[in-house]
């Protein structure tokens, strides 16, 4: 099904919103407002935006640490102020400010973020099973960096999801780098999509810089899942522009990363690509683009101002008293 003009504009606007929030968070880290760390997802926005822009509110989503999940969670409906408030340790944050950077909002179908990578896969299978039992055609989406697909949990989860034809979507956000290691030296094949073959799970490779291409492929998989046809695997090829975490030495294999590769990928910036296409199609004008840009900038500025002004817990010890068990 072709996207409507409104849908295309929504995808484009979401790319810009995510970028502005990413920039806001980089700044917040560098100025000490974020006391933990930030794994910028600059340049990778099209994966989350393309995959999540048209999810149902009751679909489930397990996002990874990259960009602290904003290209997925902001798009699924979590307000920027809530995301920032969590990073600032404010009680208005999505985890009441106790988590530093994790995301949780069960009303939006976002159950959490694993500290150990690969922790999501089996959990997602359990949610897939619950979704199947409930019969409301919800889907469960996991989006992880390519390095995480080496975990054994992925294998066990694929067997289960494929056998039971669960409504699971596994999305590989392949940014080519695992920590400080180029993934090509730690993985035997070029395409992670090939992993689907052994499980009989349909798998596709898609240009992760092209938000429209990502959306199209993911939508096909969502439709399959809602039709009880089982899980799918989609690999989105993208690239990490920033260091693994902002402020860390930007190295590969112990040496500074060369600028050339970064520049090549900057030329295929997902926002620029989408802009070019929508201008050409006449969906957007230069004036629209500036408006969208300004709107997103205002949204994030206000979110940042409000989140920062939100209160910290007055008595941290009270929080810890409730830390362990349900009442």
């Amino acid at each position: 099904m072709d996207l409507t003009k409104e849908q295309k504009i929504r995808l484009y606007t979401n790319l810009v919103r995510v970028r502005k929030l990413d920039e806001t968070m980089v700044k917040a880290l560098l100025t000490g407002k974020i006391s933990t760390f930030f794994h910028s997802g600059e340049g990778q926005e099209a994966v989350g935006v393309g995959a999540c822009s048209f999810l149902r509110e009751d679909d489930y989503l397990f996002p990874s640490h990259r960009g602290h999940a904003i290209s997925k969670t902001l798009i699924k409906g979590l307000p920027a102020r809530i995301i920032l408030a969590e990073h600032y340790g404010r009680i208005t944050g999505c985890c009441d400010g106790v988590s530093g950077f994790h995301t949780c909002d069960m009303k939006l179908g976002i159950p959490g973020m694993s500290g150990t990578l690969g922790g999501h896969f089996p959990l997602a299978v359990g949610m897939g099973l619950a979704a199947q039992l409930r019969g409301k055609k919800q889907v469960v989406m996991v989006i992880e960096g390519e390095g995480t697909y080496a975990r054994g949990t992925f294998h066990e989860s694929m067997i289960m999801a494929a056998t039971w034809k669960l409504p699971n979507l596994f999305i590989v956000e392949n940014n080519q780098i695992m920590g400080n290691t180029p993934v090509k030296i730690i993985h035997p094949k070029d395409d992670f999509a090939d992993l689907g073959f052994g499980y009989g799970v349909p798998a596709k490779v898609v240009d992760g810089q092209d938000v429209f291409a990502v959306h199209k492929e993911v939508q096909t998989a969502i439709d399959r899942a809602r039709a009880d046809e089982g899980p799918s695997l989609i690999e989105c090829k993208t690239y990490r522009i920033q260091p693994h975490a902002v402020g860390l030495p930007d190295t590969l294999l112990g040496r500074p990363r060369t600028q050339e590769e970064i520049e090549v990928w900057r030329k295929r910036d997902p926002i620029k690509l989408a802009q070019k296409r929508l201008l050409k199609e006449g969906v957007l004008t230069q004036v629209d683009i500036e408006k969208i840009d300004g709107g997103a900038a205002n949204e994030m500025e206000e979110a940042d101002r409000l989140a920062w002004a939100d209160p910290m817990p007055t008595d941290p010890k009270e929080i810890l008293k409730k830390a362990l068990y349900a009442e």
Binding site: S35, T36, F37, G89, G97, V98, S99, G100, F101, H102, S114, G115, T116, L117, G118, G119, G147, T148, A150, R151, G152, M178, G179, N180, T181, V183, I185, I186, H187, I241, Q242, P243, A245, V246, G247, L248, P249, D250, T251, L252, L253, G254, R255, P256, I262, M312, P313, P316, K317, I319, L320, A323, L324
Partner: protein, 354 residues
Amino acid sequence: MREVRFIQAINEALLEEMKRDETVFIFGECVRGGTFPHTNGLFEKFGKDRVLDTSISENAIAGAAVGAALAGYRPIAELMFSDFFLIAGDEICNKAAKWRFTHGMKLKMPIVYMASTGGYIRSDSEHSQSVESLIMHTPGLRIAIPTTPYDAKGLLKTAIRDDDPVVYLYHKLLLTKKGEIPDEEYTIPFGLADVKKEGKDVTVVAVGFMVDLSLGVANKLQERGISVEVIDPRTLEPFDIDTIVTSVKKTKRVVIVDEDTLRCGVTGEIGMQIMEKAFDYLDAPIQRVAAANCPIPAGWYLEEHVLPQPPDIAAAILKVLGKDMDISDMKKEKVGFDAVKAFGDLGITKVKQN
């Protein structure tokens, strides 16, 4: 003697042992250069056969170490964060720890499992844990936790030469610590505690990074006329109870400090061993300081209420002495882990911001 950082001491031990013994090799995530740059430079010296980067595969890393050991090699498996020992529980706690006995003592397991440990880094509950109680609990695993560059190098060399599986934990906040090491070759035997500071009024047994916090407190109390002896067991298995008993005979009072959870933590085990071996010498009930029974939160404003703090250590020392004193100058540890500060000046890599 010369002054080096903790991280360089680890690096030197790896270099020397890999040079000495061709069956030693290292593998894990980002070992050619990465998160904790203690393995930097090894690849350039020993090449791709002996310095291997892996993907995110803790089970395969820990298990392949067992396999390589069975086949006659001496693998060093780098697991990055000690929290991930929980992922590789089967390989470490069932295979590496138990297979020698399971198979009639016919097998050797010369493995080193290395990882960073501990909190105070404003990370999260899955990157900040201390796992010494889990490891000490498991029969068949040795465990070394160095607190100075000297110990870091000497204990790692011993760990690599040991024929049993050794868990070697380096605290994130100690990596940039400076200290003296001799120019000539040395090793430190396992099971030999080190008295880090002599004193006569109270014995503090501290594990890992808690040694540093305890020394800070001890020095402040010294000015106030309280003489604290600080003992660093250095290895929890084997465990040198004798040095502790000797100290208890002198001071008659004990405080045990550990970063792991209080409940079922190593403080309980150490305390009970002291009860069994030195009860008659004690003049007061043993006090212990450890993490609250709670996951470790991100962000200092909560973390400081969960992880042990200098004021907690000072209060325990005063309690065991039956003294009351103003300790409001003892500050909480809110340091966080500033990677830029930590690694930027090591000359290992240049910090660059795109």
